[in-house]
């Protein structure tokens, strides 16, 4: 670097030290993450409660739900055109309208929601019809062993074993956070599988098909666990939600 000699003295390799220091801090961050995350979640969670701008929701672990869709656009459905079809290995296949579903006995559950990507929303009320009630009404045949869900986004699918589907904490949900479920949260009707990671709670539910065996759903074809118990699957150890 002779060309710089008259003006700029070469000096110390501080650039390299800044680079290595940044790398070191990053590694330290990964090691200290569990502690830091707990502290930040507590702080941001309480800040988000008092934040009218909603900006804290954009911060990592800032609390609240995040919107995930696997398709580019999802049609909007409402009381006029929404339909839920129950078919497959049942003796009485049937299509429900939104009004039909609202007329059935409703169950309200208040539990945490845990996403497999890490975010958790505490004490979220869901309200709707027990899936077991719909299955009983349809008359599941003896050969049946699983339930497959399809969605009116045209792409998403999910599945449960019949035993899982009959749990009392699995709902065909019509309301969330004590409001009718809006489009961006999967409304007007979504699945709610309380004890499992939230990808099981398929949005925009439009079909329930009783099958012999479990057919892996959309994300499960892409590596997620089929039995998605919170805290006991997907290599995670979150506190169970139900």
């Amino acid at each position: 670097m002779n060309s710089e000699q008259p003006g700029e003295q070469p000096g110390k390799p501080i650039g390299r030290r800044v680079l290595l220091g940044t790398l070191g801090l990053g590694a330290l961050g990964v090691v200290a993450a569990p502690t830091l995350q707990r502290g930040l979640e507590a702080f941001l969670g309480s800040a988000a409660d008092k934040d009218p701008t909603g900006l804290t929701g954009l911060l990592p672990n800032g609390g609240g739900f995040r919107y995930y869709s696997v398709t580019s656009s999802v049609p909007h459905k409402d009381a006029q055109n929404y339909q839920l079809k129950i078919d497959g290995l049942v003796s009485r296949p049937r299509t429900y309208t939104l009004a039909d579903l609202r007329a059935l006995p409703q169950t309200r559950l208040v539990k945490d929601v845990q996403c497999v990507t890490g975010w958790r929303v505490p004490d979220t009320p869901f309200e709707g019809v027990r899936l077991s009630a719909l299955l009983d009404a349809a008359g599941v045949t003896a050969k049946a062993g699983a339930v497959r869900f399809s969605c009116f986004d045209g792409a998403y699918t999910e599945s449960l074993t019949l035993e899982q589907a009959r749990r009392p904490d699995v709902l065909v949900a019509l309301r969330m956070q004590d409001k009718d479920i809006g489009h961006s949260h999967g409304g007007p009707v979504r699945l709610y599988v309380a004890p499992m990671y939230f990808y099981k709670s398929a949005k925009w539910l439009s079909g329930i098909t009783v099958t012999e065996d479990v057919e892996p759903g959309y994300w499960e074809d892409r590596g997620y666990d089929v039995d998605a118990w919170v805290g006991k699957s997907n290599g995670r150890d979150d506190e169970p939600t139900s």
């Binding site: 700029e8 000096g11 501080i14 650039g15 680079l19 940044t22 990964v30 869709s69 580019s72």
Partner: protein, 206 residues
């Protein structure tokens, strides 16, 4: 007769060669893709607008993986390596520059700089380190079945917060460039005016 009075030709100085220009361009483009796809994965309004989560994730992953490649290829160029040398070495004048920056002292005399000023040097070193941290944590999130349980959550935590920090710093970097057309011309054409070089980088001897 030609009555036109020729303006004295503005003296031009070569600041960057082809290698530096292309390393900067391709790195900037890849970083742009990373930031745009990150926004579509992360900010609910954009996520709702774009959807196609799996495709966006793939593009983000590959752009991130490719991000260090231009710099690595650039190492083949002597001129690029020389610039990395200037960015790496901090002389006494850089301490003066940084102190002035801390005190918001904008006088020319208190901001001595060689080919790169101390702020540019710190930025270059930090963004390089931060990119590597993003790459490492990103790989941990990508190949989830290769690493132990807790690593993925921890990597996600660092990846999210560092992404936010990089977004802010990058906005500062772009803001500075927007405020200095001659610096931008330097990276676009490779040349800057003598007058600009003497004003902004008085210790630079091209």
């Amino acid at each position: 007769m030609n009555l036109r009075v020729d303006a004295p030709p503005r003296a031009q100085i070569r600041r960057f060669g082809r290698s530096q220009k292309w390393v900067h361009r391709t790195t900037a483009a890849l970083m742009g893709v990373c930031v745009a796809t990150a926004a579509c994965l992360y900010i609910p309004q954009f996520a709702e607008l774009v959807g196609r989560r799996e495709l966006v994730v793939r593009v983000h992953e590959w752009a991130g993986l490719a991000l260090p490649v231009p710099v690595l290829l650039g190492l083949a160029s002597r001129a690029f390596r020389a610039d990395l040398g200037f960015l790496n070495r901090f002389g006494p004048h850089d301490r003066v520059w940084l102190r002035a920056a801390l005190h918001r002292d904008k006088r020319r005399a208190s901001r001595p700089a060689g080919k790169f000023n101390a702020g540019q040097k710190v930025y270059a070193a930090w963004i390089a380190g931060a990119t590597l941290v993003m790459l490492g944590t990103g790989l941990l999130m990508w190949f989830t079945h290769l690493t132990p349980i807790q690593w993925r959550t921890s990597a996600t935590f660092v990846h999210d917060w560092l992404a936010l920090t990089i977004g802010i710093v990058l906005a500062g970097h772009i803001g500075m460039a927007l405020g200095d057309p001659e610096a931008r011309r330097g990276l676009r054409t490779g040349e800057v005016s003598q007058e600009w070089a003497e004003r902004e980088h008085p210790l630079w001897r091209p």
